[in-house]
């Protein structure tokens, strides 16, 4: 295994780290029983939201061609990230190494799009035939005088999670600290691991603006390349998506003494607590007072908006099947709505996530350590759930079983973060649970035998 991959596994702040205590690391995918994405996928999730950069996939068509335009990350201006760029290696290219094609592809990108930077992703095939991505990118960067960044995260090197981390490493090695911001303010904040799914970061950014806090760098949802370069000038880092990019935060703490904390914006409680933590890390009393005032106002407005929905949601039973930070942050949001969380999938959660989950749900909830859809469905029935909350892959599994569903992962169309996002989420839960389709879809056709009474009445 290459060194950088071993390093990514040994991230000291990561609970999957195999060298710490006796925890198991990220276990490899099992043949015939695997559903997850690969390291290449993970690297793209992390870097693709850098919207004005070009993202070039060096590999056969399946890697780039089957995966582009799949994410829900939104951008406010640049759209180059929406172009699917790939070298689309042919058999000939593979035999001759593909280096020439990569060089010419980089030239073409620069000539056609003039991007501020190019990220070049390796894939299984280019790793297998031994393409030296670092050297090619280095040469091309020198020739064109823009950053051309190798992302060595071939699919077969591991899981999506590892890919997130390798992408973070690429940001550390090649991007962060390579440019200065035009100006600084006393309240410059970075988000790390926030991808602006369905534009949900914009709701948070509005709150920050009211408080006079500037988002210096968004890593990486709705970002442009230069702002990631000057991320090292922030005063505070907030790690939004749990553990995936913890290496980036830790690096900035070591190298630039920027304090960081991990938080979430799902639910009012966590939104308020995250805002307060940000204020406290800035250490400014007036800011802290302003946050208190804002929290009070927002929570009052929220209670008013939630009043009627609470009557529907109180006591409902939810099963949550997602990964990482969402596995605990969404629980807390659901509990604020007085929904009982009767089961939680933990196959993609870290030890620390699991500890937090246990704190929140207590003894009665079932922790499901399996990736199979079947187990989820069985648990749902056994626990008499009212709604399943999971990622896009499971939507139609649930619908086949006539189970109300709320989508929570990266592909979703709805913004659930912050106070406004929380109201939206509550509304969508109500819509899902109360929908007439559950009664109608479970009606047997009148001509089925058990229904003869209905016909002949």
């Amino acid at each position: 295994m290459k060194n950088h991959i071993i390093n990514a596994f040994q991230e000291p702040a990561c609970q999957h780290n195999q060298t710490q205590s006796n925890q198991q690391g990220c276990s490899p995918a099992k043949p015939g029983q695997s559903n997850g994405g690969c390291a290449f996928d993970g690297a793209q999730i992390t870097l693709l939201p850098i919207a004005d950069a070009a993202h070039l996939v060096h590999g056969p068509i399946a890697c780039g061609g089957n995966s582009w335009e799949r994410r829900g990350s939104l951008s406010s201006d640049s759209s180059l990230y929406r172009y699917g760029l790939t070298t689309d290696l042919s058999e000939q290219d593979i035999i001759f190494g593909g280096d020439e094609k990569l060089f010419r592809s980089i030239d073409e990108i620069i000539q056609r799009f003039h991007p501020p930077a190019i990220f070049v992703y390796s894939t299984c095939v280019t790793a297998l035939i031994g393409v030296d991505l670092d050297s090619i990118c280095h040469q091309a960067a020198k020739r064109h005088a823009i950053p051309i960044i190798p992302v060595n995260s071939p699919g077969f090197s591991g899981s999506k999670n590892l890919g997130n981390r390798l992408a973070g490493q690429a940001l550390i090695d090649y991007v962060i600290g390579t440019k200065e911001p035009p100006f600084e303010t006393p309240f410059d904040l970075n988000f790390i691991g926030e991808y602006n799914i369905a534009g949900e970061m914009w709701d948070i950014e509005d709150l920050l603006k009211q408080l006079g806090i500037r988002l210096l760098s968004r890593i990486t949802g709705d970002s442009h390349f230069h702002e990631v370069q000057w991320a090292h000038r922030a005063k505070v880092n907030m790690v939004v998506c749990g553990r995936a990019l913890i290496n980036v935060a830790r690096h900035m703490e070591d190298a630039y003494e920027i304090p960081y904390f991990e938080g979430s914006f799902y639910g009012a409680k966590q939104t308020s607590s995250s805002l307060m933590k940000i204020a406290k890390l800035f250490g400014d009393q007036r800011l802290i007072d302003n946050v208190s005032e804002l929290i009070k106002n927002e929570e009052e407005k929220l209670e008013e908006a939630l009043k009627e929905m609470r009557n529907v949601l109180r006591g409902k039973r939810a099963l949550l099947y997602t990964g990482g930070v969402k596995s605990w942050s969404v629980i807390s949001a659901l509990q604020e709505l007085e929904i009982e969380v009767v089961g939680v999938g933990i196959s993609k959660s870290s030890q620390e996530d699991i500890a937090r989950i246990k704190d929140l749900v207590g003894e009665d909830a079932l922790l499901i350590n399996s990736r199979g859809a079947r187990v989820v469905l069985e648990t749902f029935k056994e626990k008499q759930g009212d709604i399943l909350i999971a990622g896009g892959r499971n939507i139609y599994v649930a619908l086949k079983e006539r189970i109300p569903f709320l989508e929570i992962n990266q592909e979703r169309d709805h913004a659930y973060a912050g106070y406004t996002g929380f109201i939206r989420m509550a509304q969508h839960l109500v819509n899902a649970i109360q929908h007439p389709v559950w009664r109608l879809a479970n009606l047997e056709a009148p001509w089925e035998e058990s229904n003869h009474d209905r016909i002949f009445q």
Partner: protein, 432 residues
């Protein structure tokens, strides 16, 4: 020769989709089957996400989940483990091992490995077969066609010692191409049933990836032809092949079972549908049911009503070869002409077309379509159409942002009219 090639080195906004997607699609039309991608886990995850998003239904698919170390030492072992695990957990009737660029580059001999597996499991009688589907050749269409060919060969061997003594009078085989939707296949099956024909469809997507054969969730294909139905292919009088890419499948039926095939390169557009019905009525010696007479009248009426809007319009279109060919003929009936045509890989069909077709990507199409009045392609083309400020008609694969992609029809009089209406609505509402 009317086929040209993109001058770019780089692929920008790919139209082409890996052959494995076609392979996975074909298997969804075989009941209780599962394709296993011989690949890293991500290859399967991408395809699953892509197809689930398009069809809004679960997709049966597994992977051998190769890691960096497996690739070097034990790709075969992973394949064996994957087959064992899928059998143990789900008991499928049919398993297909689909190779990818990774395993082809590795030189892994899937054919031999699958044959070894079967030698070591002689007691297991289910269908297990390999298909070579490297990503660096062809596209979705060829991957689907190759998989259907491999499936037919497999079934042929399986029934070679129990061939029927005679063909059955009303039995026909139907082999639909990859450009036809579940709704299309269902429509064609209903037309055949109206002519008293008893049909076996290979593969049968008509009640897969939509309303399925069995209720509830399963990791296996929940619709499609059963293995028992597939084993009846040898008793047919004739094979109806839909789409030039499927001709080889028709030939396999002819060679193995002496069943002639009839090829329809398109069932879209008035003249092509007429041709189909003339053949049906001649073959069965039955009159065309009144329902279709009425549908034909409606289509002609819609063509008359819409000709003011379509006449002289030019369009930009990017689709897989057979699909492109079909729709070019149809749009010609509507009085439209292509501004530019792009397809994913070179085929004989494209070479024989009068119109010029470029093998390229959606960026090539965008660059040549400044004067087009409307745009037809999969949803990846939406951003191009938006930049050109012309109406976008989603067709092909994948399509996002609308439901029922599996049911939308384009075949027969009814399907042709549905397609005509869908396009005319866009042009009349958003056109310039």
């Amino acid at each position: 020769m009317t086929v040209s090639f993109s001058e770019k080195e780089l692929m920008i906004n790919s139209l082409k989709i890996s052959q494995t997607v076609g392979g996975v699609l074909a298997l969804q039309g075989v009941f209780r089957s599962i394709p296993i991608l011989h690949s890293a886990q991500g290859c399967a995850a991408f395809i699953k996400a892509l197809m689930t998003n398009h069809f809004r239904d679960p997709v049966a698919l597994q992977t051998t989940a190769l890691t960096e170390l497996d690739v070097i030492f034990k790709a075969e072992q992973n394949m064996v483990k994957a087959i064992d695990s899928v059998i143990d957990k789900n008991d499928p009737a049919v398993i297909a091992i689909l190779s990818t660029a990774l395993t082809e580059t590795l030189g892994d001999d899937v054919k031999k490995n699958v044959s070894d597996y079967r030698k070591n499991h002689l007691e297991d009688t289910r269908v297990i077969f390999p298909v070579s589907l490297p990503d660096f050749e062809g596209s979705l269409e060829s991957g689907y066609a190759r998989t259907v060919e491999a499936l037919l060969m497999e079934v042929s061997h399986r029934i070679s010692d129990k061939l029927p003594l005679k063909k059955l009078a009303n039995r026909v085989n139907l082999i639909p191409g990859s450009h036809l939707t579940s709704g299309d296949v269902m429509e064609i099956k209903m037309i055949l049933a109206d002519f008293d024909l008893d049909v076996v469809t290979i593969p049968d997507l008509s009640y897969s990836l939509s309303a399925t054969r069995a209720d509830g969730y399963s990791p296996l294909a929940q619709g499609g032809s059963t293995l028992m139905e597939l084993e009846k292919i040898a008793s047919a009088q004739v094979t109806i092949v839909l789409g030039n890419s499927m001709e080889k499948s028709g030939q396999i039926m002819e060679e193995h079972f002496d069943i002639p095939y009839v090829l329809f390169d398109s069932l879209t557009g008035l003249e092509n549908v007429d041709r189909f019905f003339s053949w049906l009525t001649k073959y069965t010696k039955l009159p065309v049911p009144s329902r279709y007479r009425w549908e034909r009248e409606q289509l002609v009426d819609a063509m008359l009503d819409s000709h003011f809007y379509f006449g002289g319009k030019s369009y930009a279109m990017a689709l897989e070869p057979d699909h492109l060919y079909t729709l070019v003929m149809f749009l010609k009936e509507l009085g439209c002409k292509p501004a530019k045509l792009v397809s994913s890989y070179e085929t004989t069909t494209l070479k024989l077309m009068e119109e010029e077709v470029e093998i390229g990507d959606l960026y090539d199409l965008e660059k040549g379509s400044d004067n087009a009045d409307f745009w037809l392609s999969n949803s990846h083309g939406q951003q191009s159409a938006d930049r050109l400020s012309i109406p976008f008609v989603p067709i092909g694969f994948p399509i996002t942002g609308q439901i029922a992609n599996g049911y939308r029809m384009q075949v027969g009089f009814r399907g042709t009219m549905e397609l005509l209406l869908a396009i005319s609505q866009k042009i009349m509402k958003e056109g310039r």
